[in-house]
Amino acid sequence: MGDVLAIAEQRDGRIRPVANEVVTVAASVAEGFGGTAHAVLLGGAGVGEHAGDLGGFGAEVVHVGEDPALEGHLPETHAAVIAEVVRSHGYTVVLFGATALGKDLAPRVAARIDAPLASDVTRVETEGDRVVGVRPIYGGKALARVGFEASPAVLSLRPNAFGTNGSQAAGRIEPFTPTIPEGVRTRIVDFQAAQSGSVDVDEASVIVSGGRGMKGAEHWSLLEDLRGALGPGTALGASRAVVDAGWRPHGEQVGQTGKTVAPRLYFAVGISGAIQHLAGMRTSQTIVAINKDPDAPIFAVADYGIVGDAFDVLPGLTAEIAALRAEG
């Protein structure tokens, strides 16, 4: 037996793209084990409406647990329900997306089922009957190949590091009645939304990052414009110097004391390329650097560079990309 469970993340009742990626990996691990991939989707009433779509990425069964108590994201409640699903079906591997929610939830589930957890892995393989993960450590300065001496094994997967593999198949939906734990001592009392349309830097497929070369918070509209031209799925990033100076929030920081990212396209604008920043973005698919200093270390990891002043280059770049996208 080697069945694999994918935790499908939803927000406001909609299945998130990362869930498709986690299910895709679950299917490939299950294939390696000669087992099957299942998914679990939790939420309020009606969350299961599109649960069958996860079958298109390889989930043969989708466990759907609907309860008003699961509508919000109280991690204690979700962890208890997921742990029960894992226990009752005896999964050998449990996979989460390493999103903000997943990073909070996975350790709680792992502790409940007494299973070791490898966080934020960028590669998963099977070797016979065991699962092996590769995860960046020291902020991306090294890659650790990790193995498990226990079953189940729990892993959280870095978003965008795996991709999806879709088909027309539909998963079999199996509704269940979740047992909601009592005496939860955490209450969500408020949520203050950031500006609309913003994508988190660790989930974005394109990132526009600014460094000290931007000379001040007041010049960020130039980067905002480029982000707008690149379209949805684009996030703003920042170097540590910029966050330390208070120009941008820490949530945007890329590097060892911020986010480690792997987008399809990364723009480093006015970033010289300190070692801890490079470690955090060097696994991006394509890197573009714009910097005045031709000797800046950022050019050593960039695929394409422009030597020049950000204030000179950015408006032209934004216009050119906007024109290209307008052509379709």
């Binding site: 070791p116 090294a142 650790a144 190949r145 060097r282 698919q285 770049l317």
Partner: protein
């Protein structure tokens, strides 16, 4: 109010790390070790909360080897009142659950109503020990917190989450993991450094189980192919966009 802060000794984030072929750990020679950056935020948060409540003790605790005493002394110099070293035989591993069990086994007998952690350690980036300890001790936990305030038997935390800030309230005793916010750690004064030498540092044997998540090999990240300078200034933009579209196929 008494607070305990769980910390870790890690290589300085500015350090270049080295390891040999087939190694499962880095070479410690020439590496400068520091208090993990996120733990600094947790320590500062504890010091401020204790100052605000007048008379609370701040204790720092770590699971580690003998050399972690240096890190604990640094925390004492910054203002912590007492330190506990849970002495591990051999190195602390990447198995966060084993670490969490060792910490929980000590914490369950202590009286602090608030336990703080950095959201993750600057070395293995697992981001898991705080919520695991909370789960083992059946205490509520808020992770990735940028600021908090204490109430009567409760703590109210601002968490940085996807798409904004979530405000959660928890009953004490509770566990909080800190991220970068307004808690830049104060510098240790000369007086603080002198005083730290006399502050209590208790060393106890850790109740540390065998690791069940093991590092089998370390590798350097793949080198990136040498890129190219497309040109200088705004004149290079059309060529850059063409390359991104036709060669890299990312636009």
């Amino acid at each position: 109010m008494d607070i305990i802060v769980c910390v870790k000794r890690v290589p300085d984030t500015e350090t270049r790390i080295r390891f040999s072929d087939g190694a499962t750990a880095i070479e410690p020679e020439g590496v400068k070790y520091i208090l993990s950056p996120y733990d600094e935020f947790a320590l500062e948060a504890a010091l401020r909360a204790s100052e605000a409540s007048e008379g609370g003790q701040v204790t720092v605790m770590t699971l580690g080897e003998e050399d972690s005493q240096e890190t604990l002394r640094a925390a004492l110099a910054a203002g912590a009142d007492a330190a506990v070293l849970l002495s591990a035989q051999g190195s602390v591993t990447m198995d966060g659950l084993a670490t969490a069990k060792a910490l929980a086994s000590e914490l369950k007998n202590r009286k602090e109503q608030l336990v703080l952690f950095g959201v993750k350690a600057g070395d293995d980036d697992q981001q898991q020990v705080g919520p695991m300890v909370a789960t083992l001790l059946e205490r509520p936990c808020a992770s990735n917190v940028v600021s908090f305030e204490m109430g009567e038997g409760v703590i109210r935390c601002d968490r940085a989450v996807e798409g904004g800030t979530e405000v959660v309230e928890m009953d004490l005793p509770a566990i909080v993991t800190l991220t970068k916010g307004a808690f830049e750690l104060r510098y240790a004064s000369l007086k603080g450094i002198m005083a730290a030498k006399k502050k209590p540092l208790e060393v106890k044997d850790a109740d540390l189980a065998q690791a069940r998540l093991t590092v089998e090999r370390l590798d350097y990240p793949p080198e990136r192919a040498q890129g190219r300078i497309v040109g200088e200034g705004v004149e290079a933009v059309p060529e850059l966009v063409r390359l991104l579209r036709d060669e890299a196929k990312v636009l």
